[in-house]
């Protein structure tokens, strides 16, 4: 990989003004925290928080065969979507392991948006471009597209306070989206997110993001809106057990063992990885990704070995952290299938110290129905 200086989003100055600590992340200089991870976490669970996620990749596929190309590259059934609807999915390679997890948006039968992880942008851009060749138009719009997530139980109050177009967005159903105008900026707003809370993700032209961001903060000030960094983004996604690419899933894991079978539709028609996944499904899984709670004194971290009670290494922790809302030290990890029943005890090897943990049901956190 070429070692180039990290890039900045168009919201960089806003982050600095808000006192963010900036860190390198996937080739970008991003805010890891502003007021503190726990404070930001609680803000999103109780009020509203704004995230700059402009580093994520936006791929656009347009043309008569765009639907077919998208559906062929993803494991979920894109054919089920209607205009204005979005869907979470994996994209696998031929061996059935995960290239990336994505949200695909059907603007129309001939116009699709695919949002991929920042760390996978080059790979997924090339992957979709290759499949689109001779079939539909492909454009990587990542450099022209900013993305702001507004999440929390009061996210729609913030939008309503921002103006009539914002107020109208409360009509959006989960995983649907529409084009609108916020603070005079043309945006696409989707009722999606990565926190386990209600909220939206707002796509807008790269250079207009500060206008939208400042309008959200002006409108949200009485509600207690705060900026949220990557640190809290990680704890917020872990509690509802949302996968993090590069931690919980990657090209060595398949969606079935990762607990993502619900986005694998083997009967939807041919798609990349189907044969391999069919084969994987026909036999018992050797290992599964489970949620666990550390009951001993310790915090599980990504990469820590998991051991059975006899001390043998049997798995690996893929994510782990204190969970501010749950109030426990939680984690995700791969364990042999025989050890994945809720209540199974095992050890997390915290730098040479065996700390007891127990398999628990997931999600660790689920928001109350509104």
């Amino acid at each position: 990989m070429i070692d180039s200086p990290p890039r900045r989003t168009s919201l960089y100055e806003e982050h600095v003004k808000l006192g963010a600590r900036m860190v390198p992340f996937a080739g970008w200089e991003m805010p890891v925290q502003y007021t503190g991870i726990v404070d930001e976490h609680v803000t999103v669970r109780t009020a509203a928080g704004a995230f700059d996620v402009s580093h994520m990749g936006e791929l656009r596929l347009r043309g008569d065969h765009a639907s077919h190309v998208v559906d062929y590259l993803v494991t979920n059934d894109a054919k089920k979507l209607v205009d204005g609807q979005a869907m979470y999915t994996c994209a696998c390679n031929e061996s059935g392991t995960i290239l990336d997890d994505l949200i695909v948006y059907r603007r129309s039968a001939i116009d699709w948006l695919v949002v991929c992880n920042a760390s996978n942008r080059a790979k997924m851009s090339a992957h979709f471009a290759r499949a689109a060749k001779d079939h539909c138009d492909f454009e990587d719009q990542s450099d022209a597209t900013a993305l702001i997530a507004l999440q929390g139980p009061r996210a729609f109050d913030v939008l309503a306070a921002a103006g009539p177009e914002g107020a109208a967005l409360s009509a959006l159903k989960s995983f649907t989206f529409r084009d609108t105008t916020l603070a005079g900026v043309r945006c696409t707003v989707a009722r999606t997110g990565y926190t386990g809370e209600d909220g939206v993700e707002i796509f807008c032209p790269w250079n207009d993001a500060p206008i939208v961001w400042r309008a959200l903060f002006a409108a949200g000030q009485p509600i207690g809106i705060k900026a949220i960094g990557l640190g809290a983004r990680d704890t917020l996604r872990l509690e509802p057990r949302l996968s993090l690419y590069g931690n919980d899933i990657d090209e060595t894991t398949n969606p079935l063992e990762a607990g993502l079978a619900w986005v694998v539709k083997l009967d939807k028609g041919d798609f990349v990885g189907r044969d391999a996944l069919q084969k994987i499904k026909s036999a018992p899984l050797a290992r599964k990704l489970v949620g666990f709670e550390v009951t001993g004194r310790g915090i599980a971290r990504h990469g820590y070995p998991l051991r059975d009670l006899a001390g043998s290494e049997v798995g690996i922790c893929t994510s782990g952290s204190p969970a501010p809302t749950v109030g426990k030290n939680i984690g995700l990890g791969y364990l042999p299938s025989a050890m994945t029943a809720v209540g199974t005890t095992f050890f997390v090897d915290c730098r040479g110290k065996n700390v007891e943990a127990v398999v628990v049901p997931t999600p660790f956190y689920k928001r109350r129905a509104t």
Binding site: V32, Q33, V38, D234, R297, G298, P322, N329
Partner: protein, 130 residues
């Protein structure tokens, strides 16, 4: 953003403070270290009273939501007291790092060992360059 650096303490390059006393020194971590860590969620002091520490060797770990850091003995000597409150109240580190969140007290092997530590001015310069 260096945080408070009390004038009556000595410091290490690992961002620990040392309060010299007549027969023992108390040890904790600095405001700069706390700021870098964020919300502290776990303090593990892996020593007991009577243990002998080697200067520069880890005597425990401190973890925040995101990271883990080792705690290093600033001077060689014998552990004479341990702050047991930190096991159940790690948040004390965020609230009062120079007071209630002292970690251990050491009886130095060599009474002059503290002369190798940084004075407040030298530590401030170290933080500036960090």
């Amino acid at each position: 953003m260096s945080g408070e650096i009390p004038a009556d303490l000595l410091y290490t390059k690992d961002h620990e403070w040392v309060r010299p006393g007549p027969s023992e020194v108390t040890v904790g971590i600095t405001a700069f270290a706390v700021e870098q860590l964020g919300d502290v969620t776990l303090v593990n002091l892996d020593v007991k009273v009577g243990d002998t520490l080697t200067a520069g060797k880890a005597f425990g770990t401190i973890e925040s939501v995101k990271t883990l850091s080792d705690l290093y003995a600033p001077v060689a000597g014998k552990v004479v007291r341990i702050n047991g409150d930190l096991a159940t109240h790690p948040e004390l580190v965020n609230e009062d790092c120079y007071g209630k969140a002292w970690m251990i007290a050491i009886q130095p092997q060599d009474p002059k060992a503290t002369s190798a530590l940084l004075d407040p001015k030298a530590y401030a310069a170290h933080v500036q360059s960090a």
